[in-house]
């Protein structure tokens, strides 16, 4: 097993939005994709995934629709809305600024 890192507070929403920005996905696929792309470093706490999805839906950043999964099972697909895309852009910018700032400070000699 690779080393895993706990998600910093508030980043889960950002990751979900990012995952969905590549196309509509159902919940399991969202967590799988994040895990794969982060090479298993980021593990989505599965208990938080669905509440987070519902929260984002309530805010209007994503919409849900029932559809057929790859093997024709009924699954709920989430899709990024226009407002969600905007939100993603804004949060990404904030995140970049934050990480840049944090690493600057950490490299202080």
């Amino acid at each position: 097993m690779t080393d895993r890192v706990d998600l910093p507070q508030g980043t889960l929403d950002l990751l979900i939005l990012k995952a969905l920005s590549l196309g509509p996905q159902h919940g399991w696929a969202v967590s799988e994709r994040i895990q794969q792309v982060s090479r298993d470093t980021l593990q989505i706490p599965q208990g938080s995934l669905y509440p987070a999805l519902h929260r984002l839906e309530r805010r209007g950043w994503i919409v849900a629709e029932w559809g057929a999964s790859e093997n024709n099972r009924r699954a709920k697909f989430y899709e990024l809305t226009r407002a969600g895309a905007k939100q993603l852009a804004a949060e990404t910018a904030t995140w970049d600024k934050l990480t840049a700032a944090v690493s600057l400070v950490l490299r202080m000699t």
């Binding site: 669905y50 509440p51 987070a52 309530r58």
Partner: protein
Amino acid sequence: MLADMKFRLRALFRRLEVEQELDDELRFHIEKETAKHRAAGVPRAEAERRARVAFGGVDRIRNDARDARGISAFDTIHQDLRYAWRGMKSKPGFTVAVVLTLALGIGANTAMFGIVDRLLFRPPAFLAEPDATHRVYLTRIANGREVRERHFAYTRYADLVERTAVFERLAAFAYRTVPVGTSERSSEMTIGAVSASYFDFFLARPELGRFFGEAEDVPPAGENVVVLGHAFWRTAFNASPDVLGQTVQIGPAQYTVIGVAPEGFRGMSTGNMPAAYVPITSLPRTPAYYQNYNWSWLQVVALRKPGVSVDAAHADLTAAYQWSWGKEGELVSRASWPSAAEVSARGRAEPVLVARGPDADANARIAAWLMGVAVIVLLIACANVANLMLARAVARRREIALRLALGVSRSRLVQQLLTESVFLAALGGAAGLAIAEVAGPILRTTLMGVRASEPVASDPRTLIFAAAVTLTVALLTGIAPLSHAVRENVGSALKAGAREGTYRRSRARTGLLHFQAALSVVLLVGAGLFVRSLLNVRSVELGYDVDPVALVYGNLRGVGVELAEPDQHALVQRLLEVAASAPGVRSVTPVLSVPFWSFESRGVPIVEGRDSLHLLGSYTLQVGNADYFATIGTRILRGRGFSADDRVGAPLVTVLSESMASAIWPGEDPIGRQMRFGGFDDALFTVAGVAQDLRGEAIHGEAEFWYYLPADQFTALEEESALSPQFFVRVDGRAEHHVETLRKRMQEEMPGASYVNATTLQELIAPQQQPWKLGATMFVAFGALALALAAIGLYSVIVYTVAQRSHEIGVRMALGASVRDVVRLVVGQGLAFAIVGIAAGTILSLLAGPWVEPLLFRQSARDPLIFAGVAITLVLVALAATLRPAIRATRVDPAASLRAE
């Protein structure tokens, strides 16, 4: 935002579906996870286990997802309601007390609002421009006093229409109670005689057909067309659409139905809903009514043009009236006709609702007062409920402290307590509506004289009012326990333990109690004032007997053709004989004027050497036969009454009322003097007697001038018509037991569709006493209610404090306090209640006195007797409420108290 609401609402209302979807979603996830593990070669059972473990508790996720969906706010309310409901169920006595108290308060207010709103605030339904629509009043000075009129002759109305310029339109209308329908199925109904312009004041479209137009409303005789009222159309014609073109008998004439008014249309009327509307000009049977000014019967409304001020409207009406007054002078061509300036003739454009204008009757003013009284009752009810809730909050101190200690936020606690008081208030409000539904129509009948009831619960304005009152009540009753809970000191409350060791006098509770006591005093003083007024009204010397006298009168309008004069005379004679021979009848007399009902006048008498008689007052003409004075019970003070010898051909005689005689011949003997009366050419009458004064126009005010002529002589002199059949009948015992027999016997003599009505003098006079009767009844009822509420409040507070202080009392007794000391301790609290209440209430009552006084009848608003009576009552009630708890306090066992120490 919208998406948010939609999402939340779906989550709330399609709850099951949403939960089901979540389950499906979670199951799908677990399946995928299991499949992944199996693909990696993990055995099936192990794969499933791993998937579940990774996932965590499904229930927790469900809960979290629910929170995320944002329905938790609704959930909390639901929870709070259930909590409140459980609390209420566990204390049914408390709940019933609170709900009943609030129901009485809210019910009284809702019922009163329905009345006051209709009397004073609500414009007539469908009225297009209530603010620019005015009722027209005309004033002038007569006999040194200002006379204000709002009923005018048709000619006057036509003059106003012709001579005013600032009004969009004017309309005239009158209500008449006439027999409607054919003879056997006829009944008396209110109909509206209205000008064609009347309908233009309203934004109402006829339900069927059309309203009538100007062309159908032209003097001397308009078309016999009728617009039916919606309710009458429903009851009499089963709402049949074929009603158009049918004929209806209204009074003496047949009318053709041309339309049906929309539902709820009542024109300018606040009283009974008119059954039908006919052109004004179709109603009069008096010749030349549109040319002379003799018959004042029309009310006039006017709509200001846009941009015209009310002052300009006054001025315009004044100018028109002055012109019209001059025209009237030319018509009567009397040399002594004063100019418009001399009588300072003025017109006024006042609010369209009579009760808002200068002619507001005592009923309207008393209704407004009763609204105030109802508000006071509500305040007392709120104080009582707040007190009960406060007591409960104190009892729940530990529970509340515990919950605070366990981490319940104060805002959450506040929300919960508020939910509780809103819930209780809502129950009270619902019960109050039920009370108003029953009480409203009764009040409306007594206050407004309206027969048909309109349901309270389906009237949106009343409902909104009731809802607003309920919400206010919820806040008022919730605040005291809330502030208590919010200030709660967790530590001390918990430390205090189950036994409330320390006695804490609750200033809020005492304050509420004293507030109730003061308000009770105010209401009781009001009750006393109105009861005394009513007694005063009843003891007014009317100058005639009331109980044994009946009034019977035939209505000849239904005959269809006018009776010839000799025929009518013969009919009257026949009816007189029938009435006189009825069992129990002592005597009968024909009459012309009837107290508080109708008055005949022939202008100002003429006496040689006295030329200012018109300045003395107005003169009412009465006629009667030889039995007149015996029948009505008016005493002859000097000279004689009429006798059988005062017949046609004998010397003309008259009897004067005492005030009239002494006004014309002050300090002289009037007997044998001679005088003339208007309308009888130059006939000279000799004063044969002086009768005691009587009250027939107003129950208070200046003395009235009445003069009497013998019926036979009057009939011979009167040119045009015979007397109409209108008699006073004196019976043995009370008149109401005889009216029906009299009516039946006389009815047998009536030709065609004509009919006889019978009533008692008592019934004619009752409306005069009505305002005070009503005021007395309502103030007594509300006052008693207030006092009962205050007494209950006092009792519960005393019981509570005695329970709280029982330990302290025990210690005091152990230290040597006597039974008397203990009683004094408890009763003292009750007396403080009474004294503060009396002091504050007396001050409030004295302050309000100047406003009530005009409503009272020969009664000072500062009557010390009433104040003293109320004070004694309050002290007695306070003693009664404290007695039982005081006795209980003396039974405290000192030994037990000491052991507990």
